[in-house]
Symmetry: C2
């Protein structure tokens, strides 16, 4: 057992290191273009707005979404010299993602984000809402400008889906009848649609046909779902020292995520009743019950089953990717493959 464990860690470390090496220059370029674009966009703007946007954007984020746009663009044969300004197009996804985080942190009254005060804490709620609106508008402008009408349609649909996912989650909070299907509807909207759009718009800009566009969209959707499932697992099982978040936040907020849904499907009698009454009760009782609920989920296979779902999602994402592999795009396919594997291995 120990040997297997050790082997797994080595593979994980290798994947992580290989991925890091492969994407490092791309991330540097994305961040450089982001600085240029922001300085252009905020040239005649209030200095405080510029400061808030910088604070919120340069926070050690992994730039996964613009990376996906860039890689899918190249995978489909897009060339930096000929096509649209692909980096600016890619940026739109980081902007929209961050705009959503600013607003989410206001909504959740979050205090920390990536180990430091969230924008709403550092600069206040007003600044967080307005800076989110600013990035939102800028993201739409970049997509319309660099990607054209078709890209804007995909982008705006994904934005609407994000809002829809949040609304669904809002309605579902404390609803213990929530099933797997409803959970997937939420994470599709909240997370996967934007990641799918980042891939699809990269493909579109790179000149992909219908098949390439759809395969990469599906790659992104499955990657995004797996990503969110792992996020929801880490909410229970993550190491606060690594994730920077306390465990059991979702449960405390009355959010039913996949591990608990899977476990509830198997729980019977008193245990089930107790969990349901906690979900419909007051937040303080839930906070005290986190450790117990985590143990229940574990004993009812909730974590294992949820992880298996994430693994199945990644398998689908990989098979979509393989359908497009060719000698010409092996670099991009290799990185996107590493990225998919990494989603299952991340610990924060």
């Amino acid at each position: 057992m120990k040997k297997k464990e050790a082997a797994r860690i080595t593979v994980e470390e290798k994947t992580g290191a290989a991925l890091k090496t492969a994407i490092a220059p791309l991330v540097v370029k994305i961040e450089q273009v982001m600085r240029d674009d922001l300085s252009e966009a905020t040239r005649e703007m209030d200095e405080l707005l510029e400061e808030v946007v910088h604070y919120g954007l340069f926070n050690g984020g992994k730039r996964i979404r613009p990376l996906l746009t860039l890689l899918c663009y190249r995978l489909c044969g897009g060339e930096q010299e000929a096509g649209p300004d692909i980096h600016r197009l890619a940026l739109a996804f980081e902007y929209l993602h961050c705009a959503t985080l600013f607003h989410d942190d206001v909504i959740d009254q979050a205090t920390m984000r990536r180990g430091r005060p969230a924008v709403n804490i550092a600069y206040g709620q007003t600044a967080a809402i307005l800076a989110g609106d600013f990035l939102h508008a800028r993201s739409m402008l970049l997509v319309g400008r660099e990607g054209g009408a078709a890209a804007l349609e995909v982008f705006c649909e994904a934005t609407a889906a994000m809002v829809d996912g949040e609304f669904l989650q809002l309605r579902n909070a404390g609803n213990s009848a929530l099933n797997e299907e409803a959970y997937y509807a939420v994470i599709m909207g909240k997370t996967a649609r934007l990641i799918g759009a980042a891939c699809e718009i990269g493909a579109l800009a790179g000149g992909a046909g219908q098949q390439g566009r759809q395969a990469l969209r599906h790659y992104g959707l499955h990657l995004g779902c797996a990503f969110q499932i792992i996020d929801d697992l880490l909410d229970y099982l993550g190491d606060p020292a690594i994730t920077g978040k306390e465990v059991g936040n979702d449960f405390c907020e009355g959010k039913l995520t996949l591990p608990l849904i899977m476990a509830l499907n198997h729980m019977k009698g008193n245990d089930r009743q107790h969990v349901l009454s906690l979900l419909n009760g007051v937040v303080e009782e839930r906070r005290q019950g986190v450790a117990l609920v985590t143990a229940w989920i574990a004993s009812h296979e909730g974590f294992t089953l949820a992880r298996e779902k994430a693994e199945a999602m990644i398998a689908t994402a990989l098979s979509e990717l393989e359908s497009l592999a060719s000698p010409a795009n092996q670099t991009e396919v290799a990185i996107l493959r590493l990225l998919a594997h990494f989603v299952l291995q991340r610990d924060k």
Copy 2:
């Protein structure tokens, strides 16, 4: 004096009635297209989202912004049958305007909007932020789809200017050194730029050349500034029974608007010191001082001078408009003229 007063009211009533008759069918059409568009946009969405958006949009608003787009389109020779779906393009301005109101009401913790609970009160802050984001995205989609890349540039610039104006206002709150110039910078961003964009994009879609586009943009900018100055006058002088708002809100929030800026320019000695200390003091003292400050502003000509500025703005707007008048567009010019006059006469 009384005779003159009576005559003025009659003219005002006539302007109001003529305007109402002229725009009524256009407003009906705009609202019908809005219903259609929303039902299309929210077809696969959470029902609660749809409900919130409806609640926030159908609130007796005057639809000034889409009206301006529509009228400027026709004024420049745009025809309903040939061009883009001009009503959908026009709607974008109502969506963006309402999205901004949703977010502003969250920011200001407003309780009422147009005589009924604001969205953040009726459905909560989360719903208000998210529904605003949804309308924001939809507005960008409609502009990109119906107006093309050039329109999207203008629209996004106006959105960024709105955020910028709010930031400027945020920084200026309680800053008694605020001068006329800084005030205009705020209202340009907060109000006028979007109204200017509504006119300019209508002109652009209607096939206007550079001159027509610029004249209508300037018409809109000046109309918007005058509109905001009158708004700021009504904040002190409006009848709460008609405006639906208490008097002196801006002063209570520490916002320096044109009437007080004008009066401060003329105040000297103790009065000035007292007003400045109130502005930098606590909200409760300001609330108690509203009647006194209103009297001071009046005795230092603040209201008269501010009103004169609004009148000058409307005169400029009208002269921009006249530069485009021709026998072919006399209906549209007549309505836009009435609209400009009406801005000075509104009491809510």
